[in-house]
């Protein structure tokens, strides 16, 4: 895909306009993070170079300014990801309450190590740092959904449900 072929849907374009209206006219670069979230949700859960260049063209900034920002923040995926990205918190309280078990269990169940996409392209486990869910540890996040107080049984049910649903996870 080249930049010229990439275009937001009608609905997304409307959102872009709403987002741009949140800042003074000459400060539209402020829209970069919201637009990257939107672009990631629109284009298969990750930011390819043409997608980032497209965002740069909307905001009339240099592409490098987008690469710099996209690569700084952990929520932006610069490589293709599984349909459901399972982000397991591993910091302190989550570790204390069994985050390592959660990761191991997911790896066993999905048959791929953390970081890799499962054979059917459905799932990918990623370990992340504190998601602010310490009182409901252990937990993981899939898209904008928090799954808390996890047990192995709960995980089984969640994965089953997602398989049925078969819709790419998104934050926004």
């Amino acid at each position: 895909m080249t930049t010229t072929e990439i275009q937001f849907s009608q609905e997304a374009q409307q959102k872009v306009q709403e987002i741009l209206n949140q800042y003074p006219k000459e400060k539209s670069k402020s829209a970069l993070l919201p637009l990257l979230h939107l672009a990631q949700a629109e284009f298969d859960g990750w930011l390819s170079v043409p997608v980032m260049d497209y965002v740069a063209s909307i905001l009339k900034i240099q592409p490098i300014e987008v690469y710099e920002v996209a690569s700084f923040y952990t929520m932006f995926n610069l490589q293709p990801v599984g349909k459901y990205l399972i982000e397991v918190c591993q910091t302190s309280s989550c570790w204390m309450c069994g985050a390592e078990d959660i990761v191991r269990y997911l790896e066993q169940k999905l048959g791929v190590p953390t970081g890799e996409i499962s054979a059917d392209g459905m799932f990918q486990v990623k370990t992340v740092e504190c998601l602010g869910s310490c009182g409901t540890a252990p937990m993981f996040q899939i898209g904008d959904q928090y799954y808390e107080n996890l047990t192995f049984e709960k995980i089984d049910a969640i994965l089953e449900e997602l398989k049925q649903e078969n819709k790419r996870s998104r934050y926004c």
Partner: protein
């Protein structure tokens, strides 16, 4: 007995909606402020209240507000820091999820006090579902004439927007947050200038934590003087504490500042004691960056006085025997917990979150994680303990922003109070499996 100013109504069904929020006294502070108070009156009330920044640093809010430069013809901004990312802290999330209108009301009142006509709530990107809750509540507020032009007929205009972050702890640092809000990498700025003079887009800006802004609502309602009567000494008012770890009742608790730590941990009103009848080993009282304290020092000060949940009491004894209230992220560890391994998760966190702008933090945080990995792997030597100590001391105080200290302090405190445990990792590497995490979760045997 607990005194609730923020979460008094958090259990009421539908309190997240404007209608129910209003039924329970919501937006009374806004009406009072707009109809009977001048902006400076509100600043004065906040000063009198003794409210201190609830994000972690504890800086007096009224003073911060009074620093705001007011040059003519230049817009001023209020930015709410909802980038809550300090490990152990989840109170802002709770507040925004349960009572979004409390934050919005606080934002309107505070913006009015500061003379801001556009304000932003910067929410960490991972909290996208919260962003949706806030956006919905803001929409309701606009529809009810509580936001937008001529609010409640007062002639005051305010636009309020929610901005998502992208996944970066450092954006909780106020200048990094502003950079991020400007669409840039979250690199903290070199100060001065401070945001009060040159903040968002170079304009005077106040950045306040969610809980701080929410607290402005009860302050306006009951007056600064009344608020100051709550709490203890210079720790006025109430504080949201995020309690997690090996306790029976993890969650968010609103406490009146001054509650004894022992009561907080063991009483059924709060944490309800240690899980599975275990003994308490250590507590990180104010989020991952504050010094860890062993049982004897968290329950009592070095002088033998009961330790209280307040800025002063938790800080009693300095870092030698004390800690900090910080963000109120209260992480409790039982007797089986490895302080070294927990520290490793902190070190990994700070390494992951260092922005990389200045060299001591960029290089030092990774180095500390690698040394700690040696302990976990049973490959450390005694000299690694001293090396670790030295590396943290070389980071502390040498960096652009406080992330350097945040990374260094927990390491220093763990060595200070639990050196024997590091030595154990060196002397008996075979003992590591004793403390290495076991299948606690479902009580199953490790294969």
């Amino acid at each position: 007995m607990s005194k609730k100013l923020l979460l008094a109504n958090d259990h009421i069904p539908g309190i997240n909606t404007l209608e129910v929020y209003r039924q329970h006294g919501g937006y009374k502070a806004l009406e009072k402020a707009l109809k009977s108070m001048k902006p400076d009156d509100i600043v004065e009330e906040v000063k009198k209240s003794g409210l201190r920044g609830r994000g972690g640093a504890g800086f007096p809010t009224g003073m911060k507000w009074s620093f705001l430069a007011k040059p003519e013809g230049v817009p001023r901004y209020l930015v709410c820091n909802a980038d809550e990312s300090e490990p152990g802290t989840f109170k802002d999330r709770y507040l925004m999820e349960r009572i979004p209108h409390l934050l919005i009301e606080g934002m309107i009142v505070s913006s009015y006090a500061l003379g801001a006509n556009t304000s932003y709530i910067y929410v960490r990107g991972e909290y996208f579902y919260i962003i949706k809750i806030l956006q919905k509540a803001i929409k309701e507020a606009y529809a009810a004439g509580l936001l937008g032009k001529n609010i409640l007929g007062s002639g005051y205009d305010l636009d309020l927007y929610v901005q998502p972050g992208g996944g970066a702890y450092i954006c909780g640092e106020e200048t990094a947050l502003l950079e991020s809000l400007e669409g840039k990498r979250g690199n903290p700025r070199i100060k001065p200038p401070f945001p009060a003079v040159a903040g968002l887009w170079g304009c005077p800006t106040v950045v306040n934590n969610v809980e701080t802004i929410a607290a402005v609502v009860p302050i306006v309602n009951i007056s600064g003087d009344e608020y100051a009567k709550i709490g203890i000494g210079k720790s006025t008012g109430t504080k949201l504490i995020s309690a997690s770890g090996h306790i029976n009742k993890p969650g968010v608790y609103e406490i009146e500042l001054g509650v004894p730590v022992e009561e907080f941990i063991y009483s059924d009103e709060y944490c309800g004691g240690i899980r599975n009848g275990k003994k308490l080993k250590a507590v990180v009282a104010g989020g991952s960056s504050v010094p860890i304290l062993p049982t004897e020092l968290i329950l009592k000060t070095a002088k033998g006085e009961p330790r209280l949940m307040s800025y002063e009491s938790l800080g009693d004894g300095g870092f030698a025997t004390g800690t900090m209230l910080g963000s109120g992220g209260f992480i409790v560890m039982d007797e089986d917990t490895s302080v070294v391994k927990n520290l490793f998760t902190f070190a990994r966190f700070y390494h992951h979150e260092s922005c990389g702008q200045c060299s001591p933090c960029r290089e030092g945080t990774g180095w500390m994680e690698k040394i700690l990995q040696k302990f976990i792997d049973g490959k450390a030597t005694m000299s690694d303990i001293d090396l670790l100590w030295d590396v943290q001391s070389k980071i502390e105080g040498k960096t652009i922003c406080p992330l350097g200290e945040a990374a260094a302090w927990p390491v220093a405190a763990a060595i200070r109070h639990f050196r024997h445990e590091f030595e154990e990792y060196v002397n008996r590497p075979e003992s590591i499996h004793d403390v290495k995490h076991y299948f606690r979760l479902n009580n199953i045997e490790e294969a």
